[in-house]
Every structure is written in structure tokens, then in C-alpha cells.
Symmetry: C2
């Protein structure tokens, strides 16, 4: 008998019918002889409705009261799913975040889990019950209700799997797994049978959007075997683990892309030791999230620094820079919009130095101009014109034969 | 500086606009120099919507999961009211039942409050905050969420007022106070300026419906000064306290009535010492709530016992009796439906033995047949044909001059 944690997101529990369907999926696992802990999100649109209520009251609701309000969403789902399981003759018990022992830091709307007190869940499992836990929420040591921010239910599921030493953690979602790239854009995108934590982390950070980075990080730290699979379709998902099943092509595992990128260049900054630090601490203090950063010092007193931000943050970022012109001592700011980021990810890159070159060559052969480059050990990111984005993705998908890869084991 | 507990029911917080209005009422009290603890119910129709969700899942949801589901209703209201107060520049903090220290017995859907741990609320009050507490809900010593049953938010408010030694407890509702009888039926019904706990208890039990009996009982036990008043209209309400302002007419304070009453007569039961006990413990074991009971032994071996139940419980009650025919040893069951109960209530009756007679005479002069009578120290109840109910109420309201009473102090 194993122990499995299963997580179902908002779409999967979006209606009474879907909740009944989820109950069916849970029962399959139970009938398979496993103990099951289920983590659920709020029903589909219910969070939006709650946010609307708050906004009808005030345009600046406090984070504490928003957590109080939003955490009711999952509480509704857990009770309904528990009822659905009981109606089919299974013993089930629902638990809110605080009842389940999910302790977080004292930070509203985006708290990190600091501790998991497993006694209550273990007791219910020991009594033969299916345990249903409200995702996305926790409680501080001072009994304040907190929420975990975007992708919080994934994190809850992984934290429970880690703390309970579960055999695996299944993340049920509205896609059938992790793909080589977004199948809505590239027809030949292929579902991966497995991927490593690090690769998933790069893909998640790069906007693949299947799993929240914090959840993947947590899974990596505690070596939780994660599976991403569909709640609607009965089919194998993608396994996320430390050691990946050997596939023919080890070099590039997936492709991520993101549109609406803007590039800002701060020109003529004095080439002082604290210049770079001043610039980015100023931006961070003003909540500007910077992505790719490039500095190129070409033997002069001055330096030019370029970085990318989301287009929607462009105006705000330019304002922050202007307000700090005196401190930062730059001469000029240039900016460019209508850009996109295209990245290749794969742990095999570490030992394959030619990959970046192969990428640039493939793009240049299609006449795609690369405007920025940034690399890590397992990824290469390029910034291109937004109009070239899809072509770049398709080109690279073919270049690295992502559609053709076969598992050899 | 005093401490006031204010309770607002579901209608009073039924929309965002109404919640903002409630915030205004709370602020008035704060500006008056008082500390305020607010207790709120779920927004208007929200409980019905949650019940519908549960019924779409199963027709027999477990009580534990219903408590888990329904308790989200008040949690939504407390966060919104807190936001509304904060938006107007006041410090406010919302607390669920478990956060507010409302400890109950381990009984779902209808739990009694066993303990109130006042530390958290006192701390927030001490920090100058308006404290907003979710009514109707509590938590067991084992961290299970419970609800308090019908009128539960009233009970929460009274329990908090008692535990915090509040100067008064204001129950804001959709009526302007406690009336001599239902003003929708009797045009001349008059709002009482004050009424005693015992009188209110009789009126509440008799279906006047303004305040839940359990809340009144609690208030009496802890001598909490209760006021019932309108959340919409700015006007004096009714004070409920031990010693009532002297009014000209001390004898009858109010009139209660209830339709859909059925009478059941169990005939020819052996006149044994345990007969009565057997009958009513059997009914109680089957959850039949019996109201008026009449036994009349007329020097024979057998006895006839009559009692009243709500019409909707008639079929079930008859079935229970038939199933226990052998044990109970009765010969025959008779029943009658289409009845109503009309009662007069007033603590002055204790010293006025003629009141019952005056009541019967007034009714008989209008040709109203009395089918059952039951009395307590401060009330006389009669069962009449339902078609005579309104006439009986109007007749008695006039007979005891309830429309004309003036406060003399």
C-alpha cells in the first residue's frame, strides 16, 4: 500500500459535475490499494467572484482581509468533494489549511510554507479515510490565515507529499503533461514522458505555466516524485524527478517562449563599481521585475546596460529611472517594445558547448535577428522581434528534433 | 468608554451596499466613544446557495461537511465588512469563530457554545481596533469547525457580550423591535420599549421569531442587556432585561401565534405509572418535537393523552406510534389537522389569576372554540381552528389593550 498525494486545480473542480468526476478519479486510486491525500483549489470562477466583491467594497483591500476572503474558496471545494466521496460510500474528511497543519510565514497574499505538522492528516489516514486538504492556504503561528500566492495549491500538494513521505504527487490539470513547447503554437509539440526538476524549473520560470516554480523548487529540495497529468483524459502524464529516463536527445528537452517583452538600455552610466548595483536595487525597491540583464563594458569610462521587462511594466520602469537620474548618473535611456523571448532548455547542454551556436545559426538562417542573449547552465534565452516569435519556436523545435525524440530507456 | 457588541443578520449584510451601510452604523458607535465588537451572519441568500451546491452533490450531506461548507458564508462577510471599515479609515480586524475563541461541544449543525476564550479579541480591542467576528460558528477542542444552528449568530453575539462584560448587546435586524404581536397580522401591534428575558423567551419559543430562544436564555443566564433594533431605520428598539420599565398594563405583554399545528390523541392507554414516560421517550428517540401535552385521567383503567406537533411532522409521528403500538399498548389514535396555537405572555400573570378566564371569555364571545389549553406561570396557550387564528389574535390584542399601553416609568 502506497501513499499518493493528488492535486486538482480550479478548472478540474469548476462545477458540481466536475467535482463528482474528481471523486471518481480519487476512488480509482483508492481501489488500487493506495492511501490518498487530495489537495484542491477553489472552484473555477469563484476566486474571481470573491475578488469582485472586495473591489466593490474598496479599490485597496488589505492583504490580510483578502486572505480571509479568498481562503473560503477552497473550503467550499473540500467540503463538496468530501460529500461526493461519502455519497459513493467512501470515508472522507475535509481539512482547511490550518486544520491540516500548513504553517506559513507571517506574510499575507504570498506566504511561504515554513512547517507542516502532519499529525492530524496521519491520524485520519490511519483511520482509513481519504483526506481532502484546502490548497493555497495556511496559517501563521499566531493563527492568522494566509494564502500562498499564484500556484499555491501545487505548493501545498508538494509540501504534503514531502512531509508525509508520499510515494508520489500527482498534479492533475487541464493539460495532459509537460510538452516540448506550447502545443497551441507548435503542432508537433510532443508530450515528455519525463523531465528533471531543474529543466522543469527553467521551463516554469520561462512561462510554460504548467507548474508553479515554487512548487518545483520544493519538490526538488525534498526529492518529491511529481507527475503532471490530465484530470479529464485518462493518459500517462509527465514525470518530474531528479534522474530523467534517458531519451535519444539529451541536449534540448523543451522550448519556452513569452511575448510582450520590452528592452530598456541605460546608456552612458559612469563605469563605477557600484553602478550596476545602484541601478538594480533602485528598480527592485520600486517593484520592477527585471528579466534578462546584459552589460557590456568596452574599454571606456562609461557603460551601457540593457535589460528586459514585461511590456506592461515599461512606462513605470522608465518613470522610476527618470526619477533617479541624478543618483544613477546615466546620460540617456533607450527602449524598444514589441519583443519576445525564446528559450531552449535541457540539462544536456552542460556537456554540449555547441548548442548555443546551433541555436543562433538556425535562427539566422531564417533571417531572425537576435537582440539579446542570456545563458545559464541548462538554458539559452534569446530576445527577438515579436513577429518572429512563432517562426523562431517552430524553427528551433525542428532544429533540435523535439518532435521526433523517442524514449529508449 | 463603554464596550458594545453589535450583531447584524443576513438581510442587513445582504449586499455590498448594505455592508457599507452597516460599516456606517458601526462607525457611529465608535465615534460615540465606545469600543465595538461586531458579529455578522452570512450575506442574505449565500447560505441557500451553498446548501443548493451540497444538494447537487448528494441528498444526504454529512453534518460535519455541511458545517465546513456553511461556515464560509460568515467568513466572506467579516472580511468584506472589515475592508469597508478600513476603507473609511478605521482600524478593523476580522476573526472566524475559531480565531475568536468560540469553543463549542462536539456536535455538528447545532452545537452549543461551551467556552469563550477572550484573549484574542481583548488584544485587538486593546490595540484600538474594531473587531468583526463570524457569527453562527465555532470550533471544538479537537479543532473541528461547528455551527450553532438556527439563530446562531444571535447566540454568538450574546456569548461575546457576556464573556467580554459588554455594556450592552445590540441585535440589529429587519424589524424595529419586539412587538406586542406580529404587525403584519395585527395592524395595531405596538413596539414594546422593554420586555423581560422570561417574557421574551416565551415569545421566542412561541414563534415570534425575532430572537432565538437559545440567545435569550444565554442573555438571561449572564444578565446581558440586549436590544433588538432595526439596521435600516434609525429608531429606538426594544430593551430586553431582567427588570422591565413599569408600564400601565403589567398583565399581558405580548401575543404569539403559530399556524400548521396538528393534534394527536393516543386513546386507551393502560393507566400505568410508566405510560406517559414510555410514550414521550419513544417520540423523542425518533426526533419528534412535541409541543403542548394534555393528559386527563377520569377514574378508569385507561387514559387518553393528547399532544400537538407541527403539521409537517404528523405523518412521521403517526408512523412512529404505529411501529410502537405493542410496547405502548394503546387502543386507538385520533388526529386533527388545520389547527393553530394562540398564546398570551406576560410576567404579570403570576399575580393575576383571572387572566386565563378573561382570555377564554373573549374568545368564546367571538364564537371561537378552544381545543387545547396549556399554561405556564407567565403564559396561556390555546389551540384553535386555523381559520379562527387571526380573529383570535385580534380579539385578544384588543381585549388586553395591547395597542393602548403607555409607558409611565
Amino acid at each position: 500500500m502506497g501513499l499518493v498525494v493528488q492535486k486538482f486545480g480550479g478548472t478540474s473542480v469548476g462545477s458540481v459535475e466536475r467535482i463528482k468526476h474528481v471523486a471518481g478519479r480519487v476512488i480509482e486510486t483508492v481501489e488500487n490499494g493506495d492511501q490518498v491525500v487530495v489537495v484542491v483549489s477553489a472552484m473555477g470562477k469563484s476566486t474571481d467572484e470573491l475578488v469582485k466583491l472586495a473591489n466593490d467594497i474598496t479599490d485597496k483591500p488589505s492583504k490580510r482581509e483578502m486572505d480571509m476572503l479568498l481562503s473560503t474558496g477552497e473550503q467550499v471545494t473540500i467540503s463538496l468533494l468530501s460529500m461526493a466521496l461519502q455519497a459513493r460510500g467512501y470515508e472522507a474528511v475535509s481539512l482547511t489549511g490550518w486544520q491540516a497543519g500548513i504553517i506559513t510565514e507571517a506574510c499575507h497574499s504570498n506566504a511561504r510554507i515554513t512547517k507542516f505538522e502532519e499529525e492530524t492528516i496521519k491520524q485520519h489516514l490511519g483511520a482509513g479515510k481519504i483526506v481532502i486538504v484546502a490548497g493555497f492556504q495556511g496559517v501563521t503561528v499566531d493563527d492568522e490565515i494566509t494564502t500562498l500566492g499564484r500556484g499555491g495549491s501545487d505548493t501545498t500538494a508538494v509540501a504534503l507529499a514531502a512531509g508525509l513521505h508520499a510515494d508520489r504527487c500527482d498534479i492533475f490539470t487541464d493539460v495532459t503533461g509537460v510538452f516540448t513547447t506550447d502545443p497551441r503554437v507548435v503542432k508537433n509539440a510532443r508530450k515528455l514522458s519525463s523531465i528533471s526538476y531543474d529543466e522543469m524549473l527553467e521551463l516554469a520560470n520561462l512561462g510554460a505555466g504548467v507548474l508553479h516554480p515554487r512548487a518545483v523548487e520544493f519538490a526538488k529540495n525534498y526529492q518529491v516524485k511529481l507527475t503532471v497529468r490530465s484530470s479529464m483524459v485518462e493518459e500517462e502524464g509527465t514525470m518530474i524527478e531528479e534522474e530523467v529516463t534517458v531519451e535519444e536527445n539529451l541536449v534540448v528537452r523543451g522550448l519556452a517562449f513569452e511575448s510582450n517583452v520590452a528592452k530598456i538600455s541605460v546608456c552612458g552610466m559612469p563605469n563605477q563599481i557600484e553602478g550596476l548595483s545602484n541601478l538594480f536595487t533602485t528598480l527592485a525597491a520600486n517593484n520592477v521585475n527585471v528579466d534578462i540583464i546584459i552589460q557590456n563594458v568596452i574599454a571606456s569610462e562609461n557603460t551601457n546596460i540593457s535589460f528586459s521587462v514585461l511590456s506592461e511594466k515599461l512606462t513605470e520602469t522608465l518613470e522610476v529611472l527618470e526619477q533617479n537620474r541624478e543618483t544613477l548618473k546615466f546620460q540617456e535611456i533607450l527602449h524598444e517594445t514589441g519583443l519576445a523571448k525564446v528559450s531552449i532548455v535541457g540539462s544536456g547542454m552542460i556537456s554540449n558547448p555547441g548548442v548555443a551556436g546551433q541555436m543562433f545559426k538556425a535562427l539566422s538562417e531564417k533571417g531572425i535577428l537576435i537582440k539579446m542573449v542570456s545563458t545559464s547552465e541548462i538554458k539559452v534565452s534569446t530576445v527577438v522581434d515579436q513577429k518572429d516569435m512563432v517562426l523562431a519556436v517552430e524553427t528551433l523545435h525542428e532544429e533540435f528534433q523535439l518532435d521526433k525524440v523517442k524514449v529508449t530507456v
